[in-house]
């Protein structure tokens, strides 16, 4: 509770900043970018609904292609995430063991 109180008093500008842990431009960029994303990006549910609607469009003859396309895009994104994780894990393993 006391940590929350100190942070809140910092947010209100009541603390002297002499010994605080600091922050940098990279941090500010991440926070600004993600804050913007929460305000402008559609929700996951909206994306899923749109995708569902597209896939169930009765006149669309390209449903199969669309499924393959979205599946392929997701597969590619998944592969990207997975490879990042693998590289990160390998780098950590090398760093801590050698």
């Amino acid at each position: 509770m006391s940590a929350a109180r100190r942070v809140l008093s910092g947010m209100a500008g009541l603390n002297a900043a002499a010994s605080s842990p600091g922050w940098d431009v990279k941090q500010a960029a991440w926070l600004a970018g993600l804050s913007l994303l929460t305000q402008i990006a559609p929700s996951s549910n909206e994306i899923a609904d749109s995708l569902h609607r597209l896939l169930r469009e009765p006149k669309a003859r390209w449903n199969g292609s669309l499924i393959a396309l979205s599946g392929g895009a997701c597969g590619a994104a998944f592969a990207l995430v997975l490879s990042t994780m693998l590289v990160k894990n390998a780098a950590e393993f090398l760093y801590f063991n050698f």
């Binding site: 929350a4 842990p21 922050w23 926070l31």
Partner: protein, 386 residues
């Protein structure tokens, strides 16, 4: 939340998923219960892989609640209404008692009575499976349960995509889906959308939540150690936590909903861009929606909701939010967070009573900024300091 989601974005989990997926869709050759049995076994393996020491508690809880539920649904035709009321009270009390012992007893001993804690380890998912089963019992007493058999009930409680960190599922829309043969064959559209949601959730977790997490702890650990963070540091730490919590938790929920869609089962969505809310009432319709729905249906309404006058409505709101806060963890800070949101909601309802029903653009902009500010301030009490 970080620990829970970390496990579900691990490589071992992907291998587990890749193994369960084909077996599930082949299992219908062994009868309509085959796929249900496959998912039940997979869910129990998943839980045991995570926390084998409390598997017995999960199984005991399922057997107990299923037995009570059967009685409430008319297993004993001669039992009177009063007997059923007593059964329901006993069932709910046992569930809450178990939750109290495993989740709150140490907090009660240490922080309320001033005794040494017993060092009880929190069983994973206990809050989720307790709530889902209390809802089942209450609905069974109302006679409002669509379908139930031991296998699908066991799967409903243990279903691995949601078990550890939600969404909180309700028996009525979910159990019929488990036994619907149409869900036992691969549906390309469901797989496609499920995969998309899963990847969105994974990106939210791996790329967004994990990258802002390092900005949170230095500020709050510094404050916990007696330091006084300055204006920019305090704001950046709190804003980073606001973003990390959302991307982590909603990312996990997206993954859970997406994984479930791969198996043809639709789970309820849990987040709907909550930081776009223009007031706190709207925020709670967008944040952890399944918990809000549970609290509204099984706590706020039974307390009387808004049917007993404005004063009682505000008392009910505050009580619901305080208990909702404590549901997140056994600590005064969670209680403070819940109470703060209770206060926000009361102010919001009072403001709605005096302001025009249709807001103008200016009010929407100011409302969104104020809502975000109020939410960020409240998160200061929610941070788990490592």
């Amino acid at each position: 939340m970080g620990l829970e989601t970390a496990r579900c974005s691990s490589i071992e989990f992907f291998v587990f998923l890749a193994a369960v997926f084909p077996v599930y869709f082949l299992a219908h050759r062994f009868g309509p219960r085959g796929p249900v049995l496959v998912l039940l076994i997979a869910s129990l393996i998943f839980y045991a892989w995570w926390s084998v020491q409390y598997l017995w508690l999960l199984l005991l809880s399922i057997c107990f609640n299923y037995a009570i539920g059967r009685q409430l649904l008319g297993g004993a035709p001669k039992s009177s209404q009063r007997t059923r009321d007593v059964l329901l009270a006993a069932g709910v009390a046992t569930n809450l008692g178990l939750l109290f012992v495993f989740k709150y007893l140490d907090f009660f001993l240490r922080d309320v009575l001033g005794h040494d804690p017993l060092g009880i380890i929190l069983p994973l998912g206990i809050s989720f499976y307790t709530f889902t089963q209390i809802a089942f019992l209450v609905d069974a007493r109302r006679g409002d349960v669509a379908a139930n058999d031991p296998l699908s009930y066991g799967l409903f409680v243990t279903y691995f995509p949601h078990l550890i960190a939600g969404p909180i599922i309700h028996h009525k829309p979910v159990i019929p889906q488990f036994i619907n043969p149409a869900n036992h064959v691969i549906r390309p559209d469901m797989v496609s959308v499920g995969l998309a949601l899963f990847v969105i959730g994974l990106i939210k977790k791996i790329y967004f939540a994990d990258n802002v997490e390092p900005f949170v702890q230095p500020v709050f650990s510094f404050a916990a150690a007696g330091g006084n963070p300055g204006l920019l540091e305090a704001w950046s730490g709190t804003l980073a936590y606001t973003l990390q919590l959302y991307f982590d938790f909603s990312g996990y929920s997206d993954m859970a909903v997406g994984i479930s869609m791969l198996f043809g089962i639709r789970l309820p969505i849990n987040f709907e861009s909550p930081y776009k809310a223009n007031d706190i009432i709207e925020f709670w319709r967008r944040w952890h929606m399944t918990l809000s729905a549970f609290l509204r249906e099984y706590l706020y309404f039974p307390l009387g909701g808004n049917r007993k006058g404005p004063a009682r409505r505000y008392v009910n709101l505050m009580l619901t939010m305080c208990l909702g806060g404590l549901w997140h963890g056994a600590n005064w800070t969670f209680l403070a967070w819940g109470a703060l949101h209770g206060l926000y909601l009361i102010i919001n309802h009072l403001a709605r009573a005096v302001l025009p029903a249709t807001p103008g653009l200016g009010r929407l902009v100011i409302g969104r900024c104020l809502t975000l500010l109020a939410v960020i301030v409240a998160w200061c009490f929610f941070v788990r300091i490592v």
